[in-house]
Symmetry: C2
Subunit: 407 residues, 2 copies
DNA sequence: GAACATAAATTTAGACACTAAATAAAAGGA
DNA sequence: TCCTTTTATTTAGTGTCTAAATTTATGTTC
């Protein structure tokens, strides 16, 4: 299954990748470094490096002194060329478009966010596309990058996406994001476009730059307005047969958990309810007089000041989340569960209750943490998705920017 | 990550595997067949075939006529040599040891089962090992196979096993199966021993020879005495960080589901209860007078004859199972859920209720079916596990039986 | 500063695996 | 018997790697 026929050229390609992998992780490398880490001969290593330099993926550094005592002929030093191109990471929300751009080392070179004008829910596909392309163009321009430098685009959407990057129809919001981004829209730019569910990208982000570093099995709950879960098992994203894995929105089962409610929405809902019932609470003061619209922030703030009503709301939310985590832990046995999303900062207040509840709900409860990646978590994951694609296909691709003559 | 350094020899190894893969699936092959399916040149294909024949993995067939009109020089015909070795598949239950042996094409050559003598729960490791080795020796002897013919042993155990094949400590029954099978026990036989959770093997079996053929994402509930679930996503088994994935035994959460109760145990429990309460039911007649020990079989039989009490018990069981399936479907989005285990035949009676309940518990409920693989499901999966190992490592291994001189 | 030690690069010869093209072989049919 | 067809085999050439010898560029020592 795994294997397909090979030619000597495939062999070289494999070794190009092996050397690139080492360079990406290890910074500047001498030939000897690469010999140690790849097991190849010096002759081969040097040939591969020269090949990579010729193709534009690697730079040879000048004759700066290596650190320490130096005897013998100075080593040539090679470095992965992070500027050989860039990747875009987009987060398409219901009302907002966020775009990050990074070089091939993953260094973020620019960020931009833009609201969909007017009433977002009613925006036409074309209006949506205009905002998206506008945001992308702006972030590229600000970073001084031509469109030809873009080697891949990762895009997170708030709906179900299968493992081939196709938006699964028949889901909530699925039509909102089914905009032909992979095919028609940027055909002239010839960008490889990779779609993925936003919670899945949050999981990639957490494993790349968040608490999940070094973890092979983790779940990330993107619990802002909606409630979505990104699942990584053995270092790979889970999708299920139609991409619905982790889409716990439809979980009607666990008593008290269900519908599509994320933390923010629940806080708002119960906060509003408390006000409507006229219960005495700090939330009222924070919201201000004359309005009944409670934002989640106020509830968390009131709780931070020990307001009993707000604390009770958080307790209720935490118990609800704990139940989902318990089910998740039982079915998937992740090492770590991360709470992320718009309210991640405040979610820390939920942890004590969650950790108190878990042992009664499941044996061996997973470790639970709160994300520290903030708002850009999905866009960050989108960058990672794009980088994964580029790294996987690197030898075959043509570096962006200059058209790079390859023999 | 994925790539490691390569030499020309690795290339040949890849092509050996590619050719073997085609042969395993396609039966007897001519050179032209292989050219079409691998993309290699005729010269290479023939060289690879000769190589495989020399190593013993492939047989060249005599000059039998090919079907149809034959012009031109007759093609040499090659066939995967299923008799180049065999694999063992073991199912270690609490009280029973089952062993299957199959050739490398997966054709079962022998079966044996043996009870652990005395009170199984109290058997010492040595007693257990004696039964295991005894069963293995018998099945090999009956099939007329020497121990040197065994290329791998797959073993299913009723406890948690991580993805490296290590039994995770601290679980129910974990010490019962931690017998040093991989290392000490058969050291003299030098067999590669692969441990895996029994429900996971049931999943492999369903995908190999059961209802799950061609399915990439499925869950198999092994629901006899205990309740365990084997999960396959994108064609791969899920283990989770410690192997606990699918070990729903500890799911205390879903109201009414939990503990370790499988279908048989529940049927027995509620059947006994009904008798104790003195309710009028066919079960009593089936069990016979003077005893209160109800076996699951009687409950299913009574239900088949429309006994109201038995039907009510099945209804209760089905609702319970439906809830687990709903959670499973929501979190993992499998294409198919298979009910398997000792009572699989009878479990068909549960399907109508399960399918009626599911839509109210989750959107897009998965397809649910009952296994037709019967008792040997775990041993069958164990064979598959062993075959996977052998197929993956085939070119490097030495065929069993004769010591096969390789140049 | 010349001779030496050292580490790395480069060159050379050889092995292995593949392709492509020419040649040979083994059938059936005219 | 000769021709056609299909396949196998041989031959020459290419790409990639290793291993070993050689060269290069540096620092150290006397």
């Amino acid at each position: 299954m795994s294997s397909s026929a090979s030619t000597p050229q495939v062999l070289r390609r494999t070794n190009l990748k092996a050397v690139l992998d080492v360079m990406r992780h290890g910074g500047a490398c001498t030939g000897t470094d690469l010999i140690d880490r790849t097991g190849l001969t010096r002759a081969t290593v040097i040939a591969v490096c020269d090949d990579l330099v010729r193709r534009g993926w690697v730079r040879e550094l000048g004759a700066e002194r290596n650190e320490g005592v130096q005897k013998g002929r100075p080593a040539r030093r090679f470095e992965f060329n992070g500027e050989a191109g860039c990747v875009l990471g987009l987060d398409l929300g219901v009302a907002t478009v966020t775009a990050h751009v990074a070089d091939l080392k993953g260094t973020v070179l620019g960020r931009a966010a833009q609201r969909i004008p007017g009433r977002a829910m009613e925006a036409t596909p074309d209006e949506r596309l205009e905002t998206i392309t506008g945001t992308v163009d702006r972030v590229l321009e600000d970073a001084g990058l031509p469109t030809t430098a873009v080697l891949a685009v990762g895009i997170g959407v708030a709906t179900v996406v299968d493992r081939h990057g196709n938006i699964a129809g028949g889901h909530q919001l699925s039509s909102m994001f089914d905009l032909g981004l992979q095919t028609e829209v940027w055909r002239d730019r010839a960008w490889p476009v990779l779609l993925e569910n936003d919670a899945n990208l949050a999981a990639l982000a957490e494993r790349w730059r968040g608490i999940g570093q070094g973890t092979q099995d983790l779940a990330v709950m993107l619990a802002g307005e909606r409630l979505g879960t990104g699942l990584i098992e053995s270092g790979r994203l889970l999708h299920g047969s139609n991409g619905g894995a982790g889409d716990v929105g439809s979980l009607q089962l666990v008593e008290g958990v269900g519908s599509q409610d994320g933390i923010a929405r629940l806080a708002r809902h119960w906060g509003t309810q408390a006000l409507a019932e006229g219960r005495p609470t700090l939330i009222r003061e924070l919201v201000g007089p004359g309005t009944t619209r409670v934002s989640a922030r106020f509830v968390f703030e009131a709780a931070a000041r020990q307001d009993p009503v707000a604390l009770q709301i958080l307790d209720k939310i935490a118990r609800r989340i704990a139940r989902v985590i318990a089910v998740l832990g039982t079915f998937l046995d992740p090492e770590l569960v991360v709470l992320a999303g718009a309210v991640a900062d405040s979610a820390a207040a939920l942890l004590p209750t969650i950790n108190r509840e878990l042992p009664s709900l499941t044996e061996r409860p997973p470790r639970v943490e709160v994300s520290r990646l903030g708002d850009g978590i999905v866009a960050t994951g989108a960058l990672r998705l794009a980088l994964d694609y580029v790294e996987e296909n690197m030898p075959s691709l043509t570096p962006g920017g200059q058209p790079a003559a390859v023999g």
